[in-house]
Structures are given as C-alpha cells and as structure tokens.
Symmetry: C2
Subunit: 158 residues, 2 copies
C-alpha cells in the first residue's frame, strides 16, 4: 500500500512562492534593462507605484510602504538621483515637499505594467488561463490582508 503520491515537504511551498516571485521580477527587470531602464531595482518599481500619478510626500509614502518617513526620504533621494522622481515645494504648505514621478519614471512604470501583462499571458499560455486564476484566487484566500508592506530587505534580514 505505497502512497501513490510522493510526500510534499512543507518547506517546498514558501520556496516555490519565492521562486515564482523572483522569476517574475527577474524577467521584468531583464526586459526593463533591454528597454533602457537598467538602473531600476526591484524595490524601485514598488516605490514608484506607491508614489502614484498624483504624487505624495515622504511621510505618506512611508506609511503606504510600511517603513519610517526617514527610510522613505532616503529612498526618494536615490530615485531622485537616478532621475525617476523629483521633489517640488508645496505652495500651500511650506513644510511639505511633494514627491512626483518624472517622465522617465512614468515611462518605467508604463513599461513595467505592459511587461507584467505579457508575463501573466505567458503563464496563462503554459499553465492554462484557469490555472492562473485559480492560483491567484488561492493566494488571495491564504495571504494576510496586510501584504502591502514593502519593507522586504529589513523584514527578511532583520
């Protein structure tokens, strides 16, 4: 009476989820590099997305990302240097410095969205569309509601 299925060790699940995430992100950035955005790091795409079309402030960005305002400010500094974000004074509040996506940042964001669409289509081609939606539904069911925190480096490393 051998079991027909080999046992699936529990630690395989997180490894496969990380591998899937990493594969998608690596494919994204390989294509972004071909399209002129080689400097963009995985973290930066999430930050640009969090800044959004309307712009925001460093403090609010930190809240959206689940990190301190100081950490958000330093990350904005780097993306300003790289040409993806810009800071402008807020005429209605001299304390605030609005963070906005530059045209180059908007280009990277637009290309990222397109590439993600193509990657999802590739997954649907290989696995079948219903398997991809099932995967999304199942992960949505199991993942905690607070999954929008992007403090990955500090979270993972400590």
């Amino acid at each position: 009476m051998a079991s027909p299925e080999p046992a699936r060790p529990g630690f395989g699940l997180p490894l496969l989820l990380l591998a899937g995430f990493r594969t998608l992100i690596d494919d994204l950035h390989a294509e972004l590099a071909r399209e002129g955005h080689a400097e963009l790091r995985p973290l930066h795409g999430f930050v640009l997305q969090a800044v959004g079309a309307d712009g925001t402030t460093a403090t609010e960005l930190g809240q959206r990302l689940g990190i301190s305002k100081q950490a958000a400010g330093k990350t904005v500094d780097r993306l300003v240097t790289a040409g993806y974000l810009e800071r402008v004074d807020d005429p209605s509040d001299a304390r605030r410095r609005l963070v906005r996506v530059t045209p180059r940042g908007a280009d990277g964001l637009r290309r990222s969205a397109e590439i993600f669409e193509r990657l999802r289509a590739q997954w649907a081609d290989t696995l079948g569309p219903e398997r991809v939606t099932a995967l999304e539904d199942d992960l949505h069911t199991m993942a905690s509601a607070n999954w929008f925190r992007l403090d990955v480096p500090g979270w993972f490393g400590g």
Copy 2:
C-alpha cells in the same frame, strides 16, 4: 458581450506570490518565537538549512547561497553570536574552519520543518489538497531552475 470575468492585471501575480511567501514566513516565525526562537530571522532559517547536518565552510556556504564568501562569513559570525552555529578547526586542513549547526540550531531547524508541515496542512484544509499540489506543480513549472539563491536583501534592494 461584456467579459464575464473581471480583467486580472498582470502586476497582481507577483504581489500575490510575495504575499503568500510572506504570510507563510511570518506565520513560521510567529510560532518559532512562541517556541523559544524569537531571535531567528527569516534569512537565518535558510542559512541553517544551507549549512546542513554535515557542516560546511564559509566559502562553500557562500556558493550554495549565491553570495560572496565574505558575506557568508559575516552572516555566520552573527549566527555564532546568536548560538545557532559554531566554528571548529578542520584537523585535515589548517586553512579551513568548519561551520556546524549547534544543538540550538538543530532544534530551530527541526521545529521549522514541523511548523511548515502544519502550515501546508492548513492550506490544504482551506483550499483542498489538490489545489495545493496544483499550485506547487504550476510554480515548479514556471519558476527558473536557479531559484535557490538567497541573496534576497541585496537582490531586491540593489
């Protein structure tokens, strides 16, 4: 002729994979903290696993983890301080310093494996066993072969 299914934006897939990974790892470490291993960080479990029962050297550990030997050495230093690893001289080669898992490290490793089994069983309870195996199969199909690199902080942040 409206499409019966709402469109699934492509960027949802990586977010869901990350959320699933993070949920599992957070649940693991919440339980590990309850069982006396509060100091263990997500990264550390992977490092302990990579050291393995037979022990290894810092250079080989770096190769297994996809990081430099210097980075591996520094991580080993921290885990030695925390009591999870120990260094012993290699009698057959005075250059080498064997890295071994301590009893405390082995305890953490054993508990981690048990907790992962329970977490996978929870997923199977909620989603159905066949959905979990399908998820694993699909991710195995899509994930690149080189998914065993654990340089997550540097990879993500740059």
